[in-house]
């Protein structure tokens, strides 16, 4: 199972939530599968989906799901201690771990080799870390939302990308409609 198939599976769950989506192909896939004003698409700044998501969760009460990648989390590994030590129970960090840098041609990441991000997250102090296979993402995500506890989900799946066009929406429009959805 590859990331786009997981996103298709969980799109009905994501539709009702605030979602901060990782740069590059993950945002393109989510945009093509089910564009929503409640989606914030990152068009730059690899690594910061988890930080933007945490900041958003700490600033307001609605649930926030940050869809991240293993390569992006490795880029901003300092995010895990920050998440662990500033607990926002309305925050879910969902790391789609396909062991590769998808947007740049599926080069292997260290998470695809010896590094286990779920153990890193635990060692950083994250108290609810769930690892699952791609096909179980929906039920794990729903359980995390229902638990109302800050949760890190590491979804193991195959590397590979669906072919979708780049997002041409103006960044200020993405941001403005997202902020209106946050306030709604």
């Amino acid at each position: 199972m590859i990331r786009s198939e997981i996103l298709k599976d969980i799109a009905p769950i994501l539709r009702d939530q605030l979602v901060v989506c990782n740069i590059g192909i993950p945002s393109q896939e989510l945009h093509a599968i089910d564009d929503q004003p409640t989606n914030f698409y990152m068009l730059g700044t690899m690594g910061l989906a988890s930080s933007i998501g945490l900041g958003l969760a700490l600033a307001q009460p609605k649930p926030v799901i940050a869809i991240d990648g293993d390569g992006s989390v490795l880029t901003n590994l300092g995010t895990l201690p920050t998440i662990a030590n500033n607990v926002a129970d309305n925050f879910i960090l969902m790391i789609i771990d396909n062991g590769s840098y998808g947007s740049t041609g599926d080069q292997p990441t260290y998470a695809g080799k010896k590094t286990r991000l779920e153990k890193v997250a635990e060692a950083c102090g994250c108290e609810n870390v769930v690892t699952c296979q791609g096909e179980d993402t929906g039920k794990v995500l729903q359980a995390a939302l229902a638990s109302r506890k800050m949760t890190v989900i590491v979804v193991k799946c195959d590397s590979g990308n669906a072919k979708h066009p780049v997002i041409t929406m103006d960044p200020v429009v993405i941001r403005d409609r997202f902020m209106k959805a946050v306030q709604a």
């Binding site: 901060v20 914030f40 990152m42 068009l43 730059g44 700044t45 690594g47 910061l48 989906a49 988890s50 930080s51 933007i52 998501g53 945490l54 900041g55 958003l56 969760a57 700490l58 600033a59 307001q60 901003n76 300092g78 995010t79 201690p81 920050t82 500033n86 960044p171 200020v172 993405i174 941001r175 997202f178 902020m179 946050v182 306030q183």
Partner: protein, 168 residues
């Protein structure tokens, strides 16, 4: 005048309630002051670009954010400033300790200091330089300006402004 208290007071008066910081010897007093305030949520960052991501999220969540960092971090955060804060047009006051300026005792700090204003100018980031204690009187206006125009704004605070480094 207590500069640390004045800066925290102006932040609160301008409804800035979400502040991220990285450690800094010069800014230690203001970081301590912000930590002590009930009306400001203080979240330490491990790295300045991470902090800017937190601020971006907090802004979209309805809070007014600010970041407190060193000028060396300009070298770390250029991509984040360009492709997140500026690209999505978000306001971000950056209170920056301007290491490597007058009264600096560590030679290496000068290397980034000589690039700091040029880099900020290249990014078209409005930049203010606090050299004398009275310069802090502008801080309230700078905050109002930042949230009026939705831009990152740099406030460079040098050693002279903070009263030097003591006996070094």
């Amino acid at each position: 005048m207590n500069i640390d208290k004045k800066i925290a007071d102006d932040l609160v008066a301008n409804d800035v309630s979400f502040v991220t910081t990285v450690p800094c010897k010069q800014l230690a007093g203001v970081i301590e002051e912000i930590e002590a305030r009930d009306d400001i949520f203080h979240i330490p960052s491990n790295k300045e670009d991470e902090g800017m991501g937190l601020c971006a999220g907090a802004f979209m969540g309805g809070k007014r954010p600010a970041i407190i960092m060193q000028n060396t971090a300009i070298g770390v955060t250029i991509n984040t400033l360009a492709t997140l804060i500026q690209y999505y047009r978000m306001p971000l006051p950056m209170i920056i300790s301007y290491r490597g300026e007058l009264r600096e005792p560590v030679a290496c700090q000068v290397e980034m200091a000589v690039h700091t204003k040029a880099l900020l100018a290249q990014l078209n980031i409005p930049t203010y330089h606090f050299h004398w204690q009275k310069d802090v009187e502008e801080f309230d206006n700078i905050l109002k300006y930042t949230f009026m125009c939705n831009k990152p704004v740099a406030i460079l605070t040098d050693a002279n402004f903070w009263g030097g480094y003591g006996d070094q």
